[in-house]
């Protein structure tokens, strides 16, 4: 009798506990969603504001009561932006620098990573450690001397100066070497027995197997070209070689006061669009590359 009562009481307690737990869980879930959606709206707001501002007329933008959807969609702002900032030329320059530097950088990175991952030579580990140590040094420290060096080479205002000094990235070498090391050595030894040349093995076996890492490197490098600002401003700020970010900043020097924002926002949207397109199609590679790097571009 006693035991039975206890059992009943216990069952009731457990049920209440469970119910409370379930209510708590639902509450936490609701709170989570509210928090996440609020944060997501904050994160998205600048993009939204950029797009609707770029479609407004100047008069509408300057109204004291803001409108959250343009009354009249002014696509002409985009035409104005394109011509004001001569974005066409800037796009072409940036693409030339981006594509050439990515291709050359990939070749160098593959060769170097292969040597560190598969070949044996004296001082290999010391050299690799030395390379990794340079990653700690802030880039500004190199820029000071590199500026003098490229001036002496006569490279100022050329594409070369935008491409060559940054072809070797220790981080990309590190990334690819780690990937190469995961490929079983037996494959390499088997290829050696068959008399396959190193370079052929590298091209036919290693490169295809490391393709995801190579794609990540390509995207990060292209994004780097798109976003680079400091170095191009220093060494190639002429009409013929100016890069997109500099062009944008130069075309719209005013940031506060009376600014024609609709056109400026249209230019910003045009400059941002390629990055978003790349992101939409290659999200996986970007996110995996970024999570391992911690650096932008």
């Amino acid at each position: 009798m006693m035991k039975e009562t206890l059992n009943v009481m216990h069952a009731r307690d457990m049920q209440r506990q469970k119910k409370l737990g379930r209510i708590g869980k639902v509450l936490v879930e609701i709170f989570n969603y509210l928090f996440l959606i609020a944060m997501a709206l904050i994160v998205l707001f600048p993009f939204y504001w950029m797009i609707i501002s770029s479609l407004k007329s100047l008069a509408e933008y300057r109204m004291s009561k803001p409108t959250f959807w343009p009354r009249e969609i002014m696509l002409s702002n985009y035409m104005d932006a394109f011509t004001t900032a001569s974005l066409g030329r800037l796009f072409i320059n940036t693409m030339i620098v981006g594509i050439v530097s990515t291709l050359l950088s990939l070749v160098i990175t593959i060769l170097t990573a292969f040597a560190f991952a598969r070949l044996e030579f004296k001082g290999k580990n010391m050299l690799f450690a030395g390379l990794l140590a340079t990653m700690m040094i802030p880039g500004e420290l190199f820029t000071i001397t590199n500026y003098s060096t490229v001036t002496q080479f006569g490279w100022i205002n050329t594409y070369t100066v935008l491409i060559v000094p940054f072809l070797v990235s220790v981080f990309y070498i590190y990334l690819l070497r780690q990937n190469f090391l995961q490929i079983p050595n037996e494959l390499y030894l088997a290829a050696k027995v068959d008399g396959t040349k190193d370079i052929k093995y590298l091209w036919k076996v290693m490169v295809p197997l490391a393709l995801p890492t190579l794609i990540s490197i390509t995207i990060l490098k292209m994004m780097g070209a798109w976003n680079s600002y400091i170095w191009p401003r220093l060494v190639a700020n002429d009409e013929a070689h100016r890069m997109i970010t500099n062009g944008l900043r130069n075309a719209f020097t005013e940031t506060s006061g009376d600014v024609n924002y609709p056109v400026q926002m249209a230019a910003v949207a045009l400059v941002s669009a390629p990055l978003f397109l790349v992101f939409i199609f290659l999200r996986k590679y970007i996110m995996s590359g970024v999570s391992r790097s911690g650096i932008k571009g």
Binding site: N32, F121, N146, T245, R249, S291, G294
Partner: protein, 315 residues
């Protein structure tokens, strides 16, 4: 399996990288240290045959005394001290919330990553637009041709007074606030990505065990989630500080190259900005000394971070 033939071949593979590294990485390190110890070294005048005396730590003393240096240092440190903790805590909360939901997870994850794939100058201009007051406040009654900027509109909507954020006559605090908001917004994606990756790799058994003991959520968070996530937290904090000390382009994005509101150019200049100013003034000695000081600061802060994390981080 070291044989001389393979060794010779390895150097062939390494040659392009080594040549470029010698010119653009190794030589700059040596040269920067050299220039930092020469009296007011200028590349331009050196090309003209001028010799510069070795002055030991003189350049470093000059840099510290140079006008604007202390304010650059102060701005940089302030931005770090505000943005790193705020962005880390926000990113942690968002990552934990993201990790606990199922519906909409992928979509939200993508949204939170978006600020990463932006150009910090371009989006800085958008932030400037959001905070900027356009025109004067003396428009005619029928035709109000003035906007205080969307942020001020929101503040006024909730009954507040509009603030002069970035225009002429704005306060230092207001400028800093705008920078902090922008830098945090920009720093979130990377941190969320890393922390979420860490959360997903935590063994579910710990949480099951906590559930059996019916531990309260807050204790689970503080005693299980945070400690097991501590390596990732240490990682984002260290990279956050390193990035923070190199802050420059985000300020150019909002304030332009004047690095401050129109009536007080240079007010928001940072360490990196100081280095480039010295370089533009063709004073490589000062630029080098400042770059080495920056490197020293980053090194010390990273070492302190590592030391603290060695005690706190559970690997």
């Amino acid at each position: 399996m070291v044989n001389s033939k393979q060794g010779w071949k390895a150097w062939l593979y390494l040659a392009p990288a080594i040549v470029l590294l010698l010119i653009f990485t190794v030589w700059p390190i040596i040269n920067t240290v050299r220039m930092a110890f020469l009296d007011n070294y200028s590349g331009l005048r050196a090309a003209g045959g001028e010799k510069f005396a070795y002055i030991g730590f003189g350049n470093f003393a000059k840099v510290i005394e140079y006008r604007g240096f202390i304010s650059c240092l102060k701005n940089t440190v302030l931005l770090c001290v505000w943005t790193v903790p705020i962005s880390t805590i926000l990113a942690l909360l968002i990552a934990v919330a993201l990790n606990s939901i199922k519906v909409l997870k992928k979509a939200l994850q993508t949204i939170f990553f978006l600020p990463y794939v932006t150009n910090s100058i371009a989006i800085g201009m958008v932030f400037a637009a959001m905070f900027n007051i356009v025109g004067s406040f003396y428009g005619t009654e029928n035709e109000l041709i003035v906007t205080a900027g969307i942020i001020n509109n929101v503040i006024e909507f909730f009954g507040g007074e509009h603030v002069n954020w970035i225009n002429s006559g704005s306060s230092y605090e207001a400028n800093m606030f705008v920078m902090i908001v922008y830098i945090v917004w920009n720093a979130l994606p990377f941190k969320i990505l890393v922390l979420l990756g860490g959360l997903q790799s935590i063994n579910k058994q710990y949480y099951d065990a906590a559930k059996v003991d019916s531990a309260p959520r807050r204790r689970i968070f503080m005693r299980i989630t945070v400690p097991l996530l501590s390596p990732m937290l240490a990682y984002v904090i260290i990279t956050g500080f390193i990035g923070g000390f190199k802050e420059y382009t985000s300020i150019v994005g909002i304030f332009g190259e004047k690095m401050g509101p129109p009536d007080d150019a240079g007010r928001l200049n940072t360490m990196v900005g100081f280095i480039y100013d010295a370089l533009s003034a063709n004073n490589q000695g000062r630029a080098s000394a400042a770059a080495l000081i920056l490197f020293g600061i980053i090194l010390v802060v990273t070492m302190i971070n590592m030391h603290v994390s060695k005690k706190r981080v559970h690997y």
